[in-house]
Assembly symmetry: none
Homo-oligomer: 435 residues x 2
């Protein structure tokens, strides 16, 4: 079963609104094992909408059209579908009543153009509107491009157009309530789709690809899960395994098997899976060891703290941060010795001393050159990370790519990863057994 | 001139990544008067990519393809374009050298598959890569669907495919540097398009719309600039004026006239224009008054400092920040009195005292409830901002909408705006005249 998506609206083509609806639909369709192989954005133009719908129906079994169902003159999805079906529009009395009732219940005068939304292509089924004024439509289209008159819209090679409003929450409601169940029924769906995201930091996409070369070849040969890379900036480099199977248990088994192989192969560059993030992983490692963290940030200017505090409940682990942007703060508050402030000595002093200043067990420090200019003869991209736990204070030099923004973002995940690796060398306390 | 857009990547169809590239391109093309009438997402599948490219070239004069230029096995945009051009791929020695040099400069081993990125369809022009490893491509396609051999890729009814990487910042760079200038040349664009973005904080889109009601009506009647609203989260609410005129001077005159009217009408909610940001404006106000800033952040956990230090050269004004996430840090370092830490008293103490701790003239403090849970009986969205300059320490209570992420982001711009308004009441020193 293949279901393509058409997002309607000149504002989408002009970049005034980003089309997130087709991404949502793509995800929902994939989860149900329905292929969505082409997704198109088209403007509010009848001729082009009709052409796009016809082209999509030639290749796909079904098409979901989002948007263009509102009351104004440029909302012409109904007209385009009627033309593709080869039928006319008729007012649906029930839909009209609901629209009138909605305005009445809000105590608002109804502009008459709202009744345009009650016009329905002959032969279409209405998806009742519950949140907005526009209803959705299920529109059977015969295999020959005209309406199927056999009354059996699920068989006989007939195809289908679903029309749903472009407002995301109205769309989600109708898609879940009516479109996906109808699609599943037509597809006679039996298989399930499941996926797992493995998150890494510390190697490039091509490097990981090379490391996994034989596993990827095996996957392709074995008709196993598909493997895809998703470079996600300072969220890390993600690897997604997706599998289709007869039932959820088989899918989960397959995923678990291949996940284990990938994770074993990649080793310590894997920091998490699915909903885990670098910050949630680091906070968890600290929490389980009963350690509290203090930060000393120069080059990142507060971004590491900002990222950790994105996580609700981080305050039990993160004490705070000294953003020591001026040299005076580094020296006076953090005891950085005279000399260059982007150096092993500075990173070490910052990590070591911030613990005492803020009252924490672990210190993490960053000092570097974000650019665009050099600093003390060091090029942009230079980063020193300091990690202090107990008596051990270590520092790492890293060279990062990218402009000022990217360099600072990569510094955040690089420093958190250094802390993660250090924490992994500290055994987790064994929880007391119940006696 | 019509330029359609094809975004490549199975991850886009699966909804793992939202395609923002085609929105950006649609906006840039519209600004230059180039129509983008169909935008398509297609997966990493050679057959379908070739079919989509051919279909787009039938209707449009040019196509921009985003993504699929990386080093891995599923990056096949180069192959698809070569097939459409009817040519083979050849390694470009210069591109290969740049890739090798990039890895060397980062001190990293280059996986050999990176050289796939140096493969170029015969007859294509390379857009040199400067930020990532993949170059872009300008690929002339004859009107008959094959390569044009006349060496004049701008004429003779020939069309063109531009290929750019899917990573947004690499794409933006290549599109601005090479694709848009090449398109403008091919289109023989004579009118110029110019725009001005007016940035505001402190009123809703519908509120501003109402304030500008008559000006908008006049603009529409006068065939003057078009006016569009762009809600941009914690970058503020933007109003864009766009004008097309015979020459740059006329365009600039028109923009200046209407900008003045809009800015006068909106008054103090306007904080900047075009490349100015809230952070650059605040840093400028401080710098011109010779004042140095210290921050005390609780609810934003370092995001205000992170934002100000996004601006290169901010270290002459921003001394640093105390991210006082734990209550102990607020009390011990910043002298916050006993009692609730989300309060006027806490905000005032934090703003007042952080100046002494870090050695600055101005203190800005934020304490609030990001959620999801209440704190001390206060709902998520509660924000206290403290501003301390000289003997005057003031505090403001603000209620912000949104989830944890949004609340924190809105807190950042709200606090910076409070500081901006306070600074505007302090006269700027008159620079000494030369004698």
């Amino acid at each position: 079963m293949r279901c393509d998506v058409v997002a309607v609206g000149t504002e989408l083509l002009l970049g005034q609104i980003v089309d997130t609806n087709s991404s949502y639909l793509g995800e929902q369709l994939a989860l149900r094992g329905i292929d969505s192989l082409l997704q198109v954005k088209v403007g509010d133009n009848l001729h082009r909408m009709v052409a796009v719908l016809r082209a999509r129906l030639e290749e796909a079994d079904a098409v979901i059209v989002c948007g263009g169902l509102g009351p104004t003159h440029d909302d012409i999805t109904r007209e385009a579908i009627a033309e593709v079906m080869g039928v006319r529009l008729e007012e649906d009395a029930e839909v009209a009543e609901r629209i009138i009732a909605m305005f009445e219940s809000r105590g608002r005068r109804m502009p008459m153009n709202n009744l345009r939304q009650a016009m329905v292509p002959v032969g279409a089924t209405v998806i009742a509107q519950t949140m907005g004024t526009a209803p959705g439509l299920i529109c059977p289209v015969g295999g020959d491009g005209t309406s199927s008159d056999d009354g059996d819209d699920g068989g006989g090679g007939g195809k289908v157009i679903y029309a749903v409003p472009g407002v995301p929450y109205e769309l989600h409601d109708m898609v879940e309530r009516a479109v996906l169940p109808d699609l599943a029924r037509r597809a006679g769906l039996e298989s399930v789709i499941a996926s797992r995201v493995i998150k890494t930091w510390g190697d490039s996409e091509s490097g990981i690809n090379e490391r996994l070369d034989d596993i990827i070849a095996e996957l392709e040969g074995a008709d196993g899960p598909t493997l895809a890379f998703l470079a996600s900036g300072w969220d890390g480099l993600k690897i997604r395994l997706t599998v289709r199977a007869a039932d959820a248990e088989t899918a989960e088994d397959q995923l678990a098997t291949w996940e284990r192989r990938v994770v074993e192969r990649l080793g310590s560059i894997v920091f998490g899976c699915d909903d885990e993030t670098m910050e949630s992983v680091v906070l968890g490692l600290l929490r389980r060891r009963g350690l509290r963290l203090a930060l000393a940030e120069s080059v990142t200017g507060g971004l590491v703290a900002g990222r950790l505090t994105d996580v609700a409940g981080s305050s039990d682990v993160l004490v705070g941060s000294i953003v020591s942007y001026a040299g005076s703060v580094k020296r006076d508050m953090l005891g950085v010795p005279e000399g260059p402030v982007v150096s092993a000595e500075a990173a070490t002093a910052m990590a070591d001393n911030v613990r005492g200043v803020l009252g924490a067990d672990v210190g993490l420090a960053l000092t570097g050159v974000a650019g665009p200019a050099e600093q003390d003869g060091l090029p942009p991209g230079t980063l020193w990370v300091g990690v202090a736990i107990g008596d051990e204070v270590e520092s790492h030099l890293v060279r990062l790519p990218g402009d000022r923004l990217r360099m600072r973002q990569f510094s955040v995940i690089t420093a958190l990863d250094a802390l993660r690796r250090r924490l992994l060398t500290i055994p987790e306390p064994v929880p007391p057994t119940d006696r």
